[in-house]
Symmetry: C2
Subunit: 461 residues, 2 copies
Amino acid sequence: MTDDRADDPYLIISSDTHAGLPTAEYRPYLDPAYREAFDGFLAKQEAMAEARRKFGLENEEFAEEWFGEHEEELRAGWDASRRDRELDADGVVGEVIFPDADAVAAGTQAPFGAGLGMIGSDYDPELALAGARAHNRWLAELCRESPERRRGVIVAPIVGDVAGAVAEIRRAHADGLRGGVMIPSIWGHGQAPYHDACYDPVWATCAELGLPVHTHVGAAPRDELGAHLGLYITEVTWWSARPLWFLIWTGVFERHPDLRFGVTEAGVWWAGNLLWQMDVAFDREHGTRKLASFGEHMRMRPSEYFDRNCFLGMSTPKRRELSHRYEVGVGNLLWGNDFPHPEGTWPHTREWLVHAFSDIPVDETRAMLGLSAAANYGFDVARLRPHAERIGPRPSDLGQDKADTSVWDRARETGRHWLTGPDVPAVVGAARKEGAARKEGAARKEGAARKEGAARKEGTR
Amino acid sequence: MTDDRADDPYLIISSDTHAGLPTAEYRPYLDPAYREAFDGFLAKQEAMAEARRKFGLENEEFAEEWFGEHEEELRAGWDASRRDRELDADGVVGEVIFPDADAVAAGTQAPFGAGLGMIGSDYDPELALAGARAHNRWLAELCRESPERRRGVIVAPIVGDVAGAVAEIRRAHADGLRGGVMIPSIWGHGQAPYHDACYDPVWATCAELGLPVHTHVGAAPRDELGAHLGLYITEVTWWSARPLWFLIWTGVFERHPDLRFGVTEAGVWWAGNLLWQMDVAFDREHGTRKLASFGEHMRMRPSEYFDRNCFLGMSTPKRRELSHRYEVGVGNLLWGNDFPHPEGTWPHTREWLVHAFSDIPVDETRAMLGLSAAANYGFDVARLRPHAERIGPRPSDLGQDKADTSVWDRARETGRHWLTGPDVPAVVGAARKEGAARKEGAARKEGAARKEGAARKEGTR
């Protein structure tokens, strides 16, 4: 890139958005044989909503405000043209679409539990596959509108019926879905874990078709956690990230060197420590001398498999998390706005980008905000560029033209300190002393910032 | 402390040592009714050893070298006078004693699985309690030799028979054990998790008797992990730390404000992120607005419960981990040598202390190496001081008299950045650029450093 293009607009791809029909509307997408069972599923929705509220996953006051303020805009969860308008307002040109548009009241669930919360032992494999097919069929339709901007993720409940799931992956791929595959984060007690060879057909198929495999946060063992919301919050990341080290340590990436695996919306904060811990163990540092080898199939360090085969759909990173990016790998981190979930940055992505990225070097920002996702999901950058010219914020819009990016020099030079030499990581503490993140959190809690943001957004249209 | 005492010897307490009889010798300590069952347990030892080897937990080559080099010294696992000699050589005046002295070939197991690897569903509650009683009886005898230097940890398989475990805790406490209580890290599938009120008698009893409750690394769901050693290494820390957030998030420390809980030998590396993640969620930052409250019982931030009620028996911290000490809390971190396990620092603790602490401020070092443990476990510092004068290394022996501790100033000022203002942590990268840790690891892998160290140790006796 030449200097005079330094302030070109960002080509922003959200590697984490959600779409889904209002639950009852999935009916015509279901194979007819399952429609009666679906009526029974619908009849149980109120009981399931009550269970969610009991667990604390729904704050009724917040829900009322959220739906009251955003009723029209939330139709973007299933309406393509409305969706393009919302993405435009957020400055986002492309999206990778996961299920479950409504993460507040669970009003857009694919049938039979085929969604973010999949746990292998919680669903009936035949029904879950039927529900996944219904969602995938509908999603392929959605992606045929503004196709250059959309990559739909195939929902694949692989635990329980591997062959059925593989068939569905091939069917959905042939139907046009190119956003990869989402598998359950959690297999149930007594079910085959993801190191089991029974899943090889899944990995082989996804590698062959160029479909990244994902887990996405959502599932946790609620029976065990009880009605303790804090336990859910603390553990949900771990349960969705867990398949990552199952694949790395057990040779799956040796058997399937072209397989790509990503963990979406689980953040970044745990990843640096994980890579450190795995590498140091693998290098048979003092603490693991007494153990046997990690297996003939481990031909590289764990972090090398991570770099070659894995990525993190980090969604909306905290500043703390971005400060770890040289350990985790800038190129492994894909931003997302989690649209249209309230824990995401929509509809205030432009302001959040300023907050998160104002002192991050432009080339790194370009990679994390869009170019890495373009490569990972096969977006056609040339076709997206005109959208970026039209709606993309520029580095100067993020304040980056005035930034002193040298605060990061040492962290960048250090990288993975356990491989480069230093005995402790380098994290700069140069940045904002004013406690921006906390204040912002407090303000948003009041709903003030959100309303301000809405006003500003109207002003920019 | 006045300046002229600045180079006083360190009073070093290992908050993580291990003792246990050669397995068969536990027989006379068992209630007679269980001795026949114990013969059956002994008969299965070879099969269990084979399973350990298959899992990769035992490296036969290493084991041969380890036992070959240390045959005599390893009698310290159960012989008190030999034990004092080894502690002296390491510069350690006091110890907190967990079970399972032999972590290489599992040759010193308490009967019926009552040890580090306890999983609630893996043992027979009645037998495990019988085994725990046998170990606790023997341990109380051991602690009656040089009692000022020893705090024995009561093994308490609380999952399955709470009342029986409480009775054993009271019995063992009355018998003199004062090192707290070790509970299983893992309850089994379908068993009551530690947020369940059924465990309140355990927490109440331990709070009443002033016994800290511990988990200690060791257990992991091996059936699920299969013969994949890497999975064990990556997960074992998480499984032993997990009860910590179960107690914090579910009000156990509100019901039992005097209860202390520690996680031993799981390191420090995960703790800063955990506190950050819990606090930020609790403060209802943007990402958790949509959720209900975390419960009426949460009257403080999670990190405040951590500071009031919890500690980490960090054992042998890596430099990376020590760099997180201002986030985790210097006063919450208790050093240990993991004696006599090969992944610990024995018999080279003096050299390891130089490596880990040479640039750490002396007052912090005093706390982490001993004074915090003295307070936590009720050691009589006045009685230990003469031992420290005799064997304790001085700050100058660790190179601290020449250290520039100002490299840590910013990290110390920043502390928990999410509470103090800055948006990213401050971790200095000032320290050793030469890759000391890695080289050391490589050297130790060859066994070279260990042998050199042994020679040096002989020289200092």
